[in-house]
């Protein structure tokens, strides 16, 4: 049986200045996978996600979501940015941030109401942050802030989730809590794409993987392509030892 392609990237090239930071990327992500994007710092992982989501304009290439241009399929896609990308001293509460996930479906001018609030509370509950709903966001720990971002994406009720380092700076308990939520999403037939740094946990957490370092090195099922050869090609050093530990 042929699997549907959720995200298709064609010949994508992106540059901030003159030198491309992503070079001619082709990528097909099948529906229903839990995929890790791995690569060293500065490999262009965040840039790839931002280009797919239309935050950055690529020099060349195109992105389609379920065979249609991204712009037409926006409501199918949710995004968890890198935690450090916002100012957490902003005057607002945890619940309010999660509510922002509903703004897209509301559209211009319309205010969130009871329905949106209920959805936000449910998402907070799911990530175990309900007791903190009225907390000022600067008074949350790093891991709690990460969960708030996750909840905000959950509220979007999308089919495809892009997450930029959701495990950054979280403790073991939170990491397990988050990965369980991601696995639940996959079980519900969603596609989840995660920028991930901890190579040791890739086989345990993910079923699909993309190696990236300016160019796409490889993409496919973890069991087939998560090997020493690809790791060396991506990171430039021999990773055999650390993986077998």
């Amino acid at each position: 049986m042929e699997q549907k392609i959720a995200v298709k990237v064609d010949d994508l090239t992106v540059a901030y200045n003159y030198k491309p930071v992503l070079w001619d990327i082709d990528l097909e992500i099948p529906e229903g996978v839990l995929m890790a994007i791995v690569g060293p710092n500065g490999a262009g992982k965040s840039t790839l996600i931002k280009s797919i989501l239309g935050i950055l304009n690529p020099i060349a290439g195109s992105v389609s979501i379920y065979d249609k241009p991204y712009k037409k399929q926006r409501q199918l896609v949710a995004y968890v940015p890198q935690k450090g990308s916002v100012d957490w001293d902003f005057p607002t509460t945890a619940l309010d941030v999660v509510m922002m996930g509903t703004y897209g479906s509301l559209g211009w001018i319309k205010r969130p109401g009871q329905k949106q609030k209920k959805a936000a509370l449910e998402a907070l509950e799911k990530v175990g942050m309900l007791p903190f709903k009225n907390r000022q966001i600067s008074q949350l720990s790093g891991g709690q802030q990460q969960r708030i971002f996750l909840a905000r994406a959950l509220v979007q009720n999308a089919s495809i989730y892009f997450m930029d380092e959701p495990f950054q700076g979280v403790d073991a308990t939170t990491e397990i809590a988050i990965i369980n939520i991601l696995k639940e999403l996959r079980k519900a037939g969603k596609t989840v794409i995660v920028v991930h740094h901890d190579l040791q946990t890739v086989p345990e957490y993910f079923d699909w993987v993309t190696f990236l370092n300016v160019k796409k090195i490889a993409t496919g099922p973890v069991k087939d392509i998560f090997n020493d050869d690809n790791l060396t090609k991506t990171y430039g050093i021999n990773y055999k030892v650390s993986i077998q530990e």
Binding site: Y16, N17, K50, L53, G54, I55, R74, Q75, V77, Y79, P81, S85, V86, D87, F90, P91, T92, T93, V97, M100, Y103, G104, L106, G107, W108, I109, R111, P112, P131, Q136, S138, R152
Partner: protein
């Protein structure tokens, strides 16, 4: 005229009423909009816009030859907008940091504006005097129609804020995410920036090019200290701004007509200093008090926990011990022990202490309590 006289006059005297109303409305609208500039960390934006407006005033005068405020301010608006969009363009096209671009436009436009002003002043034309009032502002020249204009712009601004509140909020917090939700962030940004330009231009007559940015920043910075809600912050900033306007006008009118603009800015600065020291959650004073209190509580708890440990080694929790035992515990002071007695946790007889029942259970629950209060 002293302050009391001023406040009795303000409702009757036409000029005084006009100026007071004008500065109050101006303070309110710049305070409101300033919140957005402060939260976007664009503190220099106001400075850049107000300085960029100066050549517009000079050029408008050169073209029309009149000193009609509305025409000059229209010139200011145009050059302020041009300056603002050049800043955006520079940041986008050249990868210069935004404060570099702001500084660049600020000095470029201001320099050009000053050049034009000196040129105008050298003209053999009796009409040219007085353009330099836009440098430091002259509230006394406000007339009723100016105040009406300010009121209309402020009303419009409130309306737009109410309509697009959610869009402004999310753009301020997370611009990239806003884009992924399908909002045109450029539109939201241009909307808010245009209002900031408009408010600044309206303030030039009163406060002047040089100090205008303080009207934008000071009330907002002060308001941020008092609240953790964006809506309350914007509201408070408007109130602080309005009060700065009223008090500034009152002080300047009662003190031999001190220049109004600088006095208003000084009053706003007092709000800032006061807020930075006295705000309950973020102020320096209460932070220090909380710090000291926390340390004291901690000391008390440490002593209590230590006593609890000793008491646990005995069958009877109220078994008396000599005070000396506490001496080898470094946190012990007579003061802390006294406080524990006051709270009813400890009984003191001569130099023997014993835990009370209350003290014992409190100590036993100390750690649970602490984890609870973290929730």
């Amino acid at each position: 005229m002293d302050l009391k006289e001023y406040f009795s006059l303000v409702f009757n005297d036409y000029t005084l009423r006009t100026i007071t109303l004008g500065t109050a409305i101006l303070g309110a609208v710049t305070g409101m909009l300033g919140s957005f500039a402060v939260l976007r960390k664009q503190s220099l934006l106001g400075d850049a816009i107000s300085h960029a407006a100066l050549p517009g005033i000079a050029i408008a005068f050169l073209i029309t030859g009149t000193k009609d405020t509305n025409i000059l301010l229209l010139g200011a608006l145009v050059s302020g907008l041009i300056g603002t969009f050049w800043i955006r363009g520079i940041v986008k096209k050249t990868h210069l940091k935004s404060d570099t671009a702001l500084g660049l436009i600020l000095s470029l436009f201001f320099g050009f504006g000053m050049l034009l002003l000196t040129f105008i002043q050298k003209q053999p034309n009796a009409n040219q005097a007085g353009l330099d009032k836009y440098l430091f502002g002259q509230a006394a020249t406000l007339v009723e129609s100016d105040v009406w204009l300010m009121a209309i712009v402020t009303g419009l601004c409130v309306l737009v804020l109410l309509l697009f509140w959610k869009e402004f909020k999310i753009l301020l917090f997370d611009a990239d995410y806003t884009k992924t939700l399908g909002f045109n962030t450029k539109t939201i940004d241009i909307l808010i920036t245009s209002f900031i330009v408009l408010a600044i231009v309206l303030g030039l007559q009163t406060v002047g090019v040089v100090l205008m940015s303080a009207m934008l920043l000071a009330p907002a910075a002060a308001a941020r200290q008092w609240t953790n809600s964006l809506a309350k912050m914007v509201f408070l900033a408007a109130i602080f701004g309005a009060f700065s306007g009223v008090f500034g006008t009152a002080i300047s009118a009662s003190q031999n007509n001190l220049s109004t603009g600088p006095v208003i800015v000084l009053v706003a600065a007092v709000f800032v200093v006061f807020s930075f020291i006295f705000s309950p959650s973020r102020g320096l004073l209460f932070k220090q008090i909380r710090f000291i209190k926390n340390r004291r509580d901690l000391e008390l708890n440490k002593t209590l926990a230590f006593m609890h440990q000793i008491a646990e080694t005995h069958e009877d929790i109220s078994h008396p011990h000599t005070i000396k035992i506490l001496n080898n515990f470094q946190g012990y002071t007579k003061g802390t022990l006294k406080k524990l007695v006051d709270k009813g946790f400890v009984q003191l007889q001569g130099n023997m202490w014993s835990l009370t029942k209350l003290g014992y259970t409190t100590a036993a629950n100390l750690y649970n309590q602490q984890t609870d209060s973290n929730e």
